[in-house]
Symmetry: C2
Subunit: 295 residues, 2 copies
């Protein structure tokens, strides 16, 4: 990876981590157990892709990292809660995440449910601290996050995913799941960043297009890595998708077909950035970096 991009990602991640450190109560706030449990999945070395996209989108629209940080933390908290709940025994039943035991393995199942609930609630608490702009109120931003996290998108995607297990899914079913489960929150991250920068309708539209294709490309690559990588290098159980007959890009497109599709989607994402001209440089680099990650 280019050193300039590497430094940029590193700075965005540490700014997000510092902000999150300030937002989340520590273990000495009662009840200490839930605050310890909440910090466990949040500070687990995630890539912070959603905060990075949020910040980069704000900057592409002429805004600042500073003003995007509340939204950046909110989308990461939303993402983290969804991982904690998706890993539960009653859902995907995963023991390993980012190289460590999953939250319910460490704190028990009841506490993991409450931990996810608390992270989800905290996402809205944090976003409520965002600053309004000339075009957008905090209520507009909350509505955007709630719609994305709701039963038609993020949660709906997990429902379709659970219901699809073991079934022969068509391409359009698979895309519908990934739109809802993955692409929607990337789109939301970009849009909230843009809203913090008082973006106009053209910018928001372009970012939605970019995020949609980037999200599907990201999922295709994730699915490919699940097949080609070891549990150790992934930090989560490799081969899990195939074991539970999940519909994945390689399962539906074949491995080479999935790689080609990831490349095509990345190109569509890059094309969507045209209205930004030079200001879209960082978002372009992020898309290219994502396509090339470890495979």
């Amino acid at each position: 990876m280019d050193q300039v991009l590497k430094d940029y990602l590193c700075d965005a991640v540490s700014a997000t981590d510092m902000a999150m450190e300030g937002f989340l109560p520590t273990h000495d706030v009662s009840p200490g157990s839930i605050h310890e449990a909440m910090r466990y999945p949040v500070f687990a070395g995630g890539k912070r892709l959603r905060p990075v996209l949020c910040i980069a989108a704000a900057e592409a629209c002429g805004g600042s990292r500073e003003n995007a940080l509340a939204a950046a933390c909110a989308v990461e908290l939303m993402h983290t809660y969804s991982l904690v709940h998706d890993d539960l025994p009653s859902m995907d039943d995963d023991d390993l995440r980012r190289g460590r035991p999953t939250t319910h393995k460490v704190y028990g199942e009841g506490m993991a449910v409450l931990c996810g609930d608390a992270l989800l609630t905290e996402a809205f608490a944090v976003l409520a601290k965002a600053s309004p702009t000339a075009r957008f109120t905090v209520g507009d931003m909350i509505a955007e996050l709630a719609e994305t996290g709701g039963s038609r998108k993020l949660i709906g995607g997990q429902v379709l995913d659970l219901e699809g297990e073991g079934k022969a899914l068509r391409k359009e079913d698979l895309i519908k799941i990934h739109e809802a489960k993955t692409a929607a929150l990337l789109v939301c991250s970009l849009r909230l960043g843009a809203m913090s920068a008082n973006a106009d309708a053209t910018e928001l539209h372009a970012l939605s297009e970019y995020g949609y294709s980037l999200g599907l490309a990201f999922q295709a690559i994730d699915d490919i890595l699940d097949v080609t990588q070891t549990t150790e290098s992934l930090g989560k159980t490799a081969g899990k998708d195939e074991a539970v007959s999940k519909a994945t890009y390689p399962a539906v497109w074949g491995l080479e077909g999935a790689r080609a599709e990831a490349g095509r989607l990345t190109q569509v994402a890059l094309d969507a950035l045209k209205p930004f001209g030079a200001a879209g440089g960082r978002l372009r680099e992020i898309a290219e970096w994502m396509l090339l990650r470890e495979y």
Copy 2:
């Protein structure tokens, strides 16, 4: 119960139900299964105490039911999600609620987790539709709800409750649990209603005092009913608290002591309404009615 109060409660409940009917997606919106599951605990004949308090507080502050409805639905959705998750096998493991099988009994455990998540998210989506007033933005209202639902209050109370099971708790531990688990959301319901009516600091303070004592009185009465009533009349498993050695008002104060405490708390709640004068009449009636419910 007085017929005028009965009619008032009935009207408030049906206005809330109609609004909720409009907010929640129907079964024909994809994925249909989650939308069916979400409606199951919401339309289960709950008392709608929190919406009623929200609307009555708005009116006591000179506002309208109309303007309080988004907040009324939001607090009820927050309450309903917490019941769905608290009933899960990994938490209180309850099979019966409001006379019907609990959500996880009907839709399975994974779906019940997602259903709760979706109702919680919907609470914020609905509150984001509230109208700002001269003193309060929608962001202020969201912050109020998120703080109440978060790890220091609603969720924290459930954590303390789970951690306290089977332990000999002191009065102050019990009060701490009920403050967080019950009183906080009643206070929030009242405050959000008041905020929708552009209430001033004196009004908000008085309603917080009222809601706090009312919440503890409500919990004391709930605990008493758990001991004195049958499963059939309660609509949930009677005697459950004692079976799992939960700290309750009768367990800590004795049955007669708990009744006296409920009466004392109700009086404190009534006293807190003094600043409202005649405008506090409805809230006074609600507190008196609560104290006298089926026991």
